[in-house]
Symmetry: C2
DNA sequence: CAAATAAAGGACAATTTTGTCCGATTAATA
DNA sequence: TATTAATCGGACAAAATTGTCCTTTATTTG
């Protein structure tokens, strides 16, 4: 469904959100440790998220990654996914046809649109804040 | 969503079904031509489908691929997908965690299960016959 | 200002997926 | 039986994704 990069990206973003709730700024090393991901690869992904203003980065000692408390509810999962995988999930035919649309649909077009619409709504309506608070109260987990 | 191999596999299976409706057995070359896919790669995928009894192959002159008319309604998309991509779509955590389940869910677990359940139902309820007849009456298209 | 810390960025390496080529096998038919 | 047409299967090649390493840049603090 998601690429590995996107999986790491979402996990990282949620972890950063969780720590930002408590005012803590976190380093790549801590993030990779806590979400159990390859450090250098995770660093690359965080760069993409930072460049796309999904998260905020600060260089130097005491630096690291954070998400403004005020942004946290506004940042939805689809922004994370878009920053990493681009439009891939939203655009294009399920069977890989170049010219597939409502006017000249592939055999799976309608059914595929339904699934994808649900996915899009889910991603667009789920905020990092929501996911982070689920973690905070121990309803969900990020490791293993 | 699907791998390239799976996209080609579904397109090929639907095309074979369509031709089988008219009693025609088709060659790899014709299939690849008609669904606009790389020939040799398509041949590999057809072998997988054949080995998994999704389609039937006949060697030698006048040989090719076909689907028994009686099977065609019983063969659902999920069988095609499983033959090529395995359980990938059904199994595993959306965020890539190893031990994610209802008891120890990742932050996206429930929402992800919903989407995937819809996808599974769609794949399990859609037959090659249904897709082939849509093509036959000109409602849908396989090329470009 | 110097040292230390942390992200940024570029080059490279490993792995997986996608795709090709070619000889072996099977079966129809002249 | 020889030829020909077709799939099967293995080895290889190319491209994309995943992952590593190392240098540079920015920033804090002694």
């Amino acid at each position: 469904m998601f690429s590995k990069a996107c999986e790491y990206g979402i996990r990282a973003a949620v972890y950063i959100a969780l720590q930002s709730l408590e005012g803590r700024r976190v380093s790549v090393n801590e993030i990779a440790e806590e979400i159990d991901s390859p450090i250098a690869f995770t660093a690359k992904i965080l760069q993409q998220l930072s460049r796309n203003n999904v998260i905020h980065s600060v260089k130097g000692p005491t630096g690291g990654f954070e998400i403004e408390r005020t942004d946290m509810e506004a940042v939805k999962l689809n922004m994370v996914v878009k920053a990493i995988d681009g439009d891939q999930i939203y655009v294009g035919c399920g069977l890989g046809l170049k010219e597939c649309d409502a006017g000249k649909p592939c055999p799976l077009h309608d059914k595929f649109v339904d699934i994808r619409t649900d996915l899009r709504h889910m991603l667009e309506s789920t905020s990092l804040y929501e996911l982070a608070t689920g973690l905070e109260v121990g309803l969900t987990y990020l490791k293993r």
